[in-house]
Symmetry: D3
């Protein structure tokens, strides 16, 4: 039996075995009254629906949602979407399965670019900062949180909600922001500081265990904007001679990055840099949502099904 | 010549001399083409319009807006409001005028209750805190900012915009809040912490020189909610063993005290205590506005003129 | 077999018999295809889910939703919530069961305080009214509707939606309102009138048969605000010499008690008393909702599940 | 000297004398420093600006705003609008001037159709009511308020704000409403009741002394919607056997006629008749505003100046 | 076996055979675990639920949703609504069934008035246009699209969503609009042009195959307002001497007919005619929705169930 | 006497003569009762206030607002802003003054970059289009409107409201848009089409005579979005084989470029390209506003005065 391909390229004719993360598991009753297991499996490239139709009683206690699993099965099509029909499933036994090639990071939905490459790009941006205070500040915060910044998602579910999504969001915003700041004669160093730090409070707002994020107590009660400002303030206190107007500007970039109060910013943009940051943040998040909705849409025709959060259908092209 | 009464009780038949703060000064042209000085004067009890109609050229450079002045004049009525018609005005000469009884605090519009009395009441509240961590925290922040907390206004202009207004706002909220918290079985200590600290960031948001407040750089760029959370976080760091859930709750009270995101709260109330704080804060500010609008209204009839900010007229009673 | 405890203190290890109101009944198919009865049972203290898993065909026609029932069963836990597993159920036979201690009011979800105690408190408030006209008016309306005011809920479902909820809402508002009115130098008598009468139109807006309320024709077509004003106007006509400005103020309190037009008030608060009434009404309703959501939440962790109407999660504490 | 024409047809070349109502009077200083009187004068057909440039000191105390005046003057043009330049002005001496043809109603801005004609049309509508209860109700209320209904304006300033405007609004709505109700198979009698009664509370909301309206205490505190419902309820009590569902429907029509809660309706339309009433009421008010704005616009070109309340310019045609 | 009556008059006691359009088909599992077919069937007069409970495996592949079917069955009642219980069902065999009286148009939910009658009425309106340019324009566009205008629905689902609904919407608006335009002295010819053309872009916005409409690429990407303006502009180009201000006014009527920008009008009404058009369009659509909701409501009592789109219940009358 | 410098670099110590456009002229009365002329003068670089204090009666009829003038004067400071005090002013005599170096384009407020340079850049973008149909379309429309595109402002007053502002807006958006489109893997050709054509309807919406723009009949009645779509449709008709889906996408870009319906877009973005276009359009317009507000602000301190349209103050930096 051969190994199944990456889920992003799974086809009906594929069959074999593979390692995945099971993110959802439910025992359902079919039309005929018989039970089956309804599952969501993911690897680094995509998430698919999987079903166990036979020997349900044998497999149903072999694993839980949230665990890595080894499955055997074949592709099938339902409502136009490719799914997996499983003939066997069990939880991963790390010791044993690692010898067969199991690696956690291969089984978690991930940003399309390799993390090391994005990380190197972020470091390159940090090296390019001309203002000494900003460079020290960013290096300190980024290195203090390297572990999280490398693998966290950017949000719980709306956009970039996968491994490395936070880093992907930062690097894409830095790529775009540098050009835009330059085009408008804005000060690039604070814009980059805003990009790197605008969501830094999310490291305290969310808890991420390698699967999906959930809100922490501080996340629910204080929110990532105020949490981020506190983090910056504390870091600034450790840097001798950090200019107070610069500190205020960076905190302003964090405070105003949602653009309007209705979206949770306690103050609204008041500098060219803050307008740019709020604009590119929203565009990057929005386009990530749009791309995902188009990619996952299973409907026929040129348009996606109704997208509730965006309040519209999207054009998939002719 | 006798001394003029307090402005709150000024009548048409009064005449004499007095010390005031001049908060506004403009050289205007009358219908006949002749110039006169249009002024706003205040003492601790009220603010009135004053005019210099004669010898304008002699007096117009004798003082500036923002200075304390000594005036001579008499009451007059214009559009139903009592004003002062001045026959003489000059800036205060502190050394000399202090001997005549000039005191700065008598000339600045002030809360109706004596500051020492309100301050004692606040201290009484602090002594009553049962939770040791909260008591230490409040005592530390309050004593660190005693000078400002005693005399600052609560806002630049909307409500409690006079000397001691901040303290009046806190003590009235504490009086009401204690009863309400008790009535609803809420935890009083955190509610009191929310009352004392919800606007503490205004000490950095506004600059107050004894006259009117103005926004600081941090006030415009970061806003008093995030500033207050930073102040609390820093104070908490200095208190050994401060429980983290308590810290989060207090920061939540500050973050959510405007009640809804549209009014600048990055998060909305999620505890009974936070709902109570937002409710009594809004009621206290609103009633202060309403009382002021009714007191200052010069229109005839049972209702005030249209109040733009409140979007309605108010009933003065029959 | 012993009697089951009050539902508010039901535990997994309890078993026995009891009388309850069945408010919901549905025949459901389980995963295995077998049928079971899914029920909601309530007594004065709480409402719980109950299930009949065995002998379904025997019990399913023994009672209907809306009837009082006698059950036998034991506690069980499902998704973290205590439920009842029933081994027997039948409708109450009033004659016979009353001898065993059945009382309707014990089986209907009720305000936590005894009704007689709340009623006495309301009467105490009415006796304290100093304005003769207001006292006569309130006594007349309250005594005319004693039967409803003692047992009705305050709303169909949003807040205080249980037996005695209307009275609980009034007495709590009176307790808080008296303090707040005094603190702000407001006129207590009209505030009390507003508290007692603001929702009086609900007696015509809703129909309540001891179970849940439903909207009447007048409730849907005219609404409780206009209905209440009509009731007050008619009562005032029967009181010689009732001052017209007082009548207008009381009608204003009713008309404006939702605070803003968007929430159905045709006019907005224009007096200190009206601002206070709208504020304490909203706070009391909101806190009742919040307490209920926290009490009923079955999710793990420090926060409730998403509360759709409030648009947020709530903090249950750590 | 000949008599001036009606103001609606005043032209630059006209000169002579006339009687008018002076609705505004202000002593202004011109660019050269000299004073002049700036006035608004109206007769039944229009309102114009008038100025007294010469002998100001002689005329300025000869009359007050709100009085009927006798003027002499000639047409002039300012910013494209025809105005009156006055050479003489004095208050009317009723005894003497009546002999010269002065009549109050000729000097007050009025609906374009004669009041008697509109009144007859309204009576015709009332006679056509088939439902006995509605006919009795409408006849009773209309005859009780004939004096006001004949001459009042429909609003203080937004639409139909002139003598007879209320009646014009009712008769036009009845004309249109009858056709629309018939076209949609709606029940005409209740629609007519809604038309006649929807604003009946304005007779208590506004005070009208023949000039402009002002809000009464009841108008500000209770509002015309609740006031109208009370009036209807009281009238219905005096009619034996008035069906309760009919009463509820008529009160619903009044309660919901602003269409949405944001505009002050405590309930929203729930019957075909209520939807029709709200629609034709808004259209009639809106078109009256639009016609007025176009008629009074003094700007060049095809479009009016910016209309603040409507939030747009209006097309005057090419 | 006799033929079933029209669905609008179907009663429980009816039984027999008939031709219908099946618009929905789903295989469902009953409580007992057995399967049944849940269907929606329509004829010209109404749409009803139908079920096949027996011989499901025999009938389930005999037809698909979207096909015309021949059924045998009898009336039954479920939750207060009349349904059809089918004993047999198969797809129509056009050749054979036409001989038995099958006609497509009899089986598609249709406007209550005969299409030929509405078409004649529209033609009558067109003949009455006095402005030559408008008459030519309307005749050209209407005759170019006669096929669609006769049978299309007016919308995908909100209002007039049935065969002939577009034409019904136009003719009813023309009937009402002519009266209203005349009552307000508006120019009828452009109002009629607005009525006929305001939704003309829907012919490109929607695709209609005789069943329900769906959005086209142009409908989703450009929208019927801009599409309609383009259609008018192109038609105008083909008419020599069409006055440009008239063209602009007609395009304005199309552009502004949703009344406010929030509803998708890029400009808001700026002429009396445009205000009238937007008003009668909204009223006609709204009343069609209201009538439908009342007609289809299956709940007991005087009010419909909650209508989600309208955000209210509706009064069905007592 | 030497020539005055460009207004953007005018200083208090400058004096001399110059040519300017007078955009505003008003005869004002000073405090002393004497008259003076209050003017706005502009050249390509800035707009300043100018005053004629002496010999007013001699100069006041020597020119009108909207005319080019020759002035003599010197710099002065008022409220912190540099102004011009004029000792002489007259309208330009083109024949004679051209010999002295007068050129209209030097006297009209203009984009900071030379028009020829921006035009060349736009042409460069057009040459780079890979899709033949788009290239032909853009070239045709751009060359047809070269005269307007070179010199028009982008809006009447909100942003880029000066000579060449339209072209500046297009070229800056093209510069930024190309990078952003590439960064997000969007299709650059349609994005460029959207940039060049999104405001093309403004050429019919506004009338521009070299001074300020004003709304045309079509601008007020139809609006630039629908006008632009019509222009594109007509141009597309002239290009053989233009793919219909491409046409629809380009029209969608125009239709949706305001981002949300509330801002006047009849449809909202449904493609990655449309989201990008709306985002960069808003950012470019917003930053132009912000830069202007900061540049023109005359207040002291780190922040501008309150900016009404933006609803905030802006940070000028420390």
């Amino acid at each position: 039996m051969q190994r199944l391909p990456k889920l992003a390229s799974l086809a009906v004719e594929d069959s074999g075995w593979g390692y995945f993360l099971c993110t959802y598991k439910e025992l359902r009753a079919g039309r005929s009254g018989s039970e089956f297991l309804f599952l969501s499996l993911q690897d680094a490239t995509a998430q698919v629906v999987a079903k166990v139709m036979a020997d349900v009683s044998r497999y149903k206690d072999e694993f839980e949602a949230g665990e890595f699993v080894r499955v055997e099965g074949r592709g099938s099509v339902y409502n136009g979407q490719v799914q997996l029909k499983l003939s066997a499933i069990r939880r991963v036994n790390p010791e044993q399965d690692r010898r067969e090639g199991f690696r956690e990071e291969d089984c978690v939905l991930s940003a399309p670019r390799p993390i090391d490459e994005m990380w190197a790009e972020l470091q390159e941006h940090l090296r390019g900062v001309r203002n000494d205070h900003i460079r020290v500040l960013l290096n300190r915060i980024v290195s203090d949180h390297e572990a999280e910044l490398r693998v966290w998602p950017a949000a719980q579910q709306i956009h970039h909600a996968y491994r490395g999504g936070f880093l992907e969001h930062l690097t894409k915003m830095a790529e775009v922001g540098r050009f835009v700041a330059n085009a408008y004669g804005a000060d690039w160093d604070p814009v980059l500081a805003g990009i790197v730090l605008h969501d830094i409070g999310k490291l305290q707002e969310l808890a991420y265990d390698g699967g999906t994020g959930s809100y922490t107590r501080d996340g629910n009660l204080v929110g990532h904007i105020a949490l981020g400002i506190v983090m910056v303030r504390e870091a600034v206190h450790g840097i001798a001679g950090f200019p107070d107007d610069l500190r205020a500007h960076i905190e302003h970039l964090i405070a105003s990055h949602h653009g309007v109060r209705e979206h949770g910013s306690p103050v609204e943009p008041k500098t060219v840099e803050a307008f740019i940051l709020a604009s590119i943040d929203e565009l990057d998040a929005r386009l990530n949502q749009v791309r995902k909705a188009i990619a996952e849409d299973a409907s026929d025709g040129d348009f996606t099904a109704w997208h509730k959060r965006l309040g519209r259908v999207l054009y998939k092209g002719s």
